[in-house]
């Protein structure tokens, strides 16, 4: 299993330029990918802009969105942005798309929340079309375009992933929950007769220098989850033992790449995490 690290692009109060040094250091430390999350109604950097900045100062590390809320975007422009970033990074982009979890993001963007699943299905096919026909420039450098991942937990999401994406990105939780989703993704792959096997990605939050900061950030970010925010905050990985056990559990259930998302906007977090992961 490969292990990636998230960019500090959604932590309020960060120095917006921190992610540049962060990206450089993550690549040096041997992480295999840099992840970004997407949320419109929050103090967070636009995910593809953040990845573009990271692309400029790195050369090997993979750049992954997990996930961009696809239906909020115009499909042509999203395809174009992703193709541009793929070209700029010499084929290092993996584009994860999902419907997201918050109605308020849809209200802010003026998109019909009830049609989100249908929009995303259409969008995946259209983005691939744009990447292949070249009418909307530029062409991506990856053959056929960057790899696509889909997130979500409904039957429709698994079907969508198998029909139109190259893999699945899980939304977080214990390894057992990931394993349950992976079984469904594989059944979907077999159902639709898609060749090959799905890439299986996962994510979790970490913060090593200050457990209280991890807690307060996650409580703030997940305020929309109401009384469940504390529960999510409690699942943040704050010690070496927790991280080691968590990584091992995900490895055992067949995860291909686990991306650990930051909760503290301090550069030292990269080094701290690397020393545990590389141990």
């Amino acid at each position: 299993m490969r292990v990636g690290i998230g960019l500090p692009s959604a932590i309020p109060g960060r120095d917006p330029r921190l992610l540049i040094d962060w990206a450089r250091q993550a690549e040096e430390a041997g992480f295999t990918s840099l992840g970004v999350i997407d949320r419109v109604t929050y103090d967070s950097s636009e995910p593809l802009v953040a990845l573009a900045a990271a692309a400029a100062v790195t050369s090997r590390i993979r750049l992954v969105s997990m996930v961009i809320i696809g239906p909020l975007h115009n499909s042509v422009l999203l395809a174009r942005q992703a193709a541009s970033l793929d070209a700029l990074s010499e084929g290092r982009l993996t584009l994860g798309l999902g419907v997201g979890a918050r109605r308020e993001d849809y209200e802010a963007a003026g998109v019909d929340y009830r049609r989100r699943g249908h929009i995303l299905t259409q969008q995946l096919a259209r983005i691939r079309d744009h990447w292949e026909d070249g009418r909307v420039g530029p062409l991506p450098v990856s053959a056929g375009g960057p790899d696509l991942l889909v997130g979500g937990a409904s039957p429709a999401a698994f079907l969508r992933a198998a029909r139109l994406a190259d893999g699945y990105v899980h939304g977080g939780g214990p390894a057992r929950s990931f394993a349950g989703a992976a079984t469904k993704v594989k059944a979907a792959w077999e159902d639709v007769g898609r060749p090959g096997s799905p890439q299986l990605w996962a994510q979790a939050y970490f913060g090593l220098s200050d457990a209280e900061a991890v807690n307060s950030y996650l409580l703030d970010y997940y305020r929309f989850a109401g009384p469940f925010a504390q529960r999510i905050a409690d699942a943040g990985l704050t010690t070496a033992t927790q991280l080691t056990n968590f990584i091992r559990a995900y490895e055992e259930v067949g995860c291909d790449e686990l991306v650990l998302l930051p909760t503290i906007a301090e550069l030292s977090e990269v080094e701290r995490l690397a020393s545990i992961v590389n141990r």
């Binding site: 079984t183 159902d191 007769g193 096997s197």
Partner: protein, 657 residues
């Protein structure tokens, strides 16, 4: 903390005992009935539940333990045979004894329930928490429908809860066919001279037996007469017993924090079909988890309630899923009566998808050996999925199809316009034991599947044909409906395809599944024709059957057809129609049916999980009496052994991922 517990059943009392013992809390129980007004007979616990109860409250558990009846067998009776399955440890207790032990411990901890006392809206003032343990008809749940977002599903079968004046030797299922339909009893001992005896049947058999409006006495006599052979003179008892329909209740949320917090436990939050006997078990586990959470967060009720819900929802959801599978099994169990005794027993044990071949092998190796013998043509000791099977002129060395098993080709298009994508083969190439022939119909003219499915070619595409002028996705153009000329041509193309396969393989599979050309005629979602090829299921089948008949005439080998037995979409093909389709195939010389699902329309809701197509496959195999191949999340030899050993399928397509 000052806690009001609404309902003096097992969940309410157990919760009160645990909270009172932890100290520092004031617990009041409100029960609208008088003490000892309970009805219902025994309650079942698994070994796992007993271990948890022992850990929860040692003293109370010791009392329970003395009153428990334990057993470790399941007996399965049919008119002509009986199978005893060993290694199934369970325990049961008289519901009255359970309540009296809980009541006694409540008193020891200083709690004296307020009997014959309703706890009404407004009464919660002055309390810090209301625990709604007031059963499936919970007034407190119904007071806040927007919060709890509950959903009730009424099951189609009828059941009546009776007692038997005799202690059975273990869990007992009795199946009694009648001219009106099949009845089954679910029975287990719970005291020295008492057993629970639940009788269940389909609505049709219930009506045909004129049980609607039967008095308690009439139902009792009916049961005694029906099960006379099994009862051998023992008497049944009733206690305000009526014929009911089971209701499965699910709730999105189990608590609210606005105003005085309210939390649901047990049947007030969720129910699980009686055939896996876990209602009281789940309720008492809820009670323990809630007490635990409140003790862990003494000053933060919200966190305690979140912890309770987060910890309990996943296991309860798993039980509910297993219970639904089990309920569906009993709705259709009459299909299974022709299975050999050991196969029938193994099928019953594996009905909820939670018990597999390996599990049964551990608990009762003798049964598994007999199951293997039943699957084996010469009745030798065998592993079910590794036994051979001959269908027509084809020998399947094992029951596995796909990697490591019977070699089936990728679909070969019968004509250029029937290709899914330009490089799809139209000629047999390579070494296969079986060859699949397809015409992609409305799904033709797409790009190769490596870069995603159902993406129409931008250039170099061709006109697609289908039953009706429908576009498969928003990016597709509408297909052209087949003319009578097209129909003749396509029949000819399939015949040519079959001739081309001759000599290359012994098995030919015609693809009528997943929205391809022949499938587009079968599904009511995609066939809107008003000529002789559209309308009733018989008319929708006319063209696929014409293809099959023409191929049958020229193909000497074994003939199979794959089709989608469910569209997994609203308005899709019904189960009865799917059985009709399989029967019609068999009547036209088809020797094997592959059961698939979905694909008629691009956006459907497949219930993906391990073995999600098995219930459909089983229904078709047993009702249409045709050998069945099925896949769908079956990846291990254990999965295949469970499917074949239980008689749900003859052949298993093992996963390619």
């Amino acid at each position: 903390m000052k806690i009001a517990v609404v309902g003096g059943g097992p969940a309410g009392l157990y919760f009160s005992v645990l909270m009172a013992r932890s100290g520092g809390h004031h617990v009041e129980v409100f029960e609208r009935n008088p003490p000892n007004a309970t009805y219902g007979w025994g309650v079942v616990f698994s070994e796992g539940t007993l271990t948890e109860l022992a850990g929860g409250h040692g003293g109370l558990f010791e009392d329970l333990d003395k009153a428990l009846v334990r057993w470790s067998t399941i007996s399965i009776h049919r008119p002509e045979d009986t199978v005893r399955v060993t290694g199934q440890p369970f325990a049961a207790i008289d519901r009255k004894s359970l309540l009296s032990i809980l009541g006694r411990w409540a008193l020891l901890h200083g709690i004296s329930p307020n009997y014959e006392t309703e706890f009404q809206p407004g009464d919660e003032m002055g309390f810090d928490l209301v625990v709604a343990a007031d059963g499936i008809n919970s007034a407190w749940r119904r007071r806040f429908p927007e919060t709890f977002q509950s959903e009730e599903r009424v099951h189609p079968t009828r059941y009546i809860w009776l007692g038997l004046e005799q202690a059975l030797s273990g869990f007992t299922f009795v199946f009694e066919p009648t001219p009106a339909g099949l009845f089954q009893a679910h029975a287990y001992p719970y005291g020295p001279e008492e057993s629970t005896f639940i009788v269940e049947t389909t609505e049709e058999a219930f009506q045909a037996s004129e049980l609607a409006g039967a008095t308690e006495e009439q139902s009792l006599r009916f049961g005694e007469k029906l099960f006379a052979n099994f009862l051998a003179g023992a008497r049944l008892r009733s206690n305000r017993s009526q014929w009911l329909r089971f209701v499965t209740l699910r709730s999105q949320r189990w608590f609210r924090t606005e105003g005085v917090p309210v939390v649901l436990v047990g049947d007030a939050a969720h129910t699980a079909h009686f055939s896996i006997g876990s209602g009281t078990k789940l309720a008492m586990e809820d009670a323990a988890a809630l007490a635990d959470a409140l003790v862990s967060y003494p000053h933060d009720i919200t966190s305690a309630l979140v912890t309770y819900e987060v910890n309990r929802q996943p296991p309860v959801a798993r039980f509910q899923e297993a219970a639904l599978d089990s309920a569906r099994y009993f709705e259709r169990v009459s299909n299974l009566m022709e299975l050999p005794a050991s196969t029938f027993a193994f099928n019953l044990l594996t009905r909820s998808g939670r018990v597999s071949y390996l599990d049964v092998e551990r608990s009762d190796p003798g049964l598994v050996a007999e199951v293997g013998r039943s699957a084996s043509p010469d009745r030798r000791l065998a592993v079910p999925a590794l036994t051979p099977l001959t269908l027509g002129g084809t020998l399947f060395r094992t029951r596995l199809v796909g990697p490591g098993g019977f070699a089936l080709s990728e679909p070969i298009a019968v004509s250029l316009d029937g290709r899914r994508f330009p490089l799809q083969p139209t000629k047999v190439d390579g070494d296969w034991e079986g060859i699949v022939l397809t015409h992609a119909g409305p799904r033709a003219s797409c790009r190769p599947p490596e870069s995603g499915l159902d993406r129409p070619l931008l250039t170099g595409g061709w006109e697609t044909i289908a039953a009706s002028p429908i576009s498969y996705t928003a990016l597709h153009s509408a297909s052209r409906p087949l003319t009578s000329g097209d129909i003749e041509r396509v029949i000819g193309d399939f015949v040519e395809g079959a001739r081309g396969a001759a000599g290359n393989a012994t098995l030919l599979v015609i693809d009528a599944a997943q929205g391809n050309l022949l499938a587009s005629f079968i599904s009511p979602l995609t066939n809107h024709r008003d000529d002789e090829y559209g309308g009733s299921i018989g008319a929708r089948l006319r063209f696929p059957l014409a293809v099959i008949s023409a191929v049958r005439d020229v193909w000497d080998g074994t003939l199979a057809v794959r089709f989608s037995a469910s569209d997994f979409a609203r308005g899709g093909i019904s189960e009865d129609d799917a059985v009709h389709v399989a029967r019609a195939f068999a009547a036209h010389g088809v020797e094997l049916v592959e059961v698939c699902g979905g694909g008629a329309v691009a956006e459907y809701e497949p219930p993906y999980r391990r073995g999600y197509l098995l219930p459909l496959a089983s229904t078709i195999r047993l009702r249409a009496k045709v050998p069945v191949l099925v896949g769908g999340g079956l990846n291990t030899l254990d999965d295949a052994n469970t499917a074949v050993g239980s008689g749900r399928a003859d052949l298993v397509r093992v996963g390619t991922v």
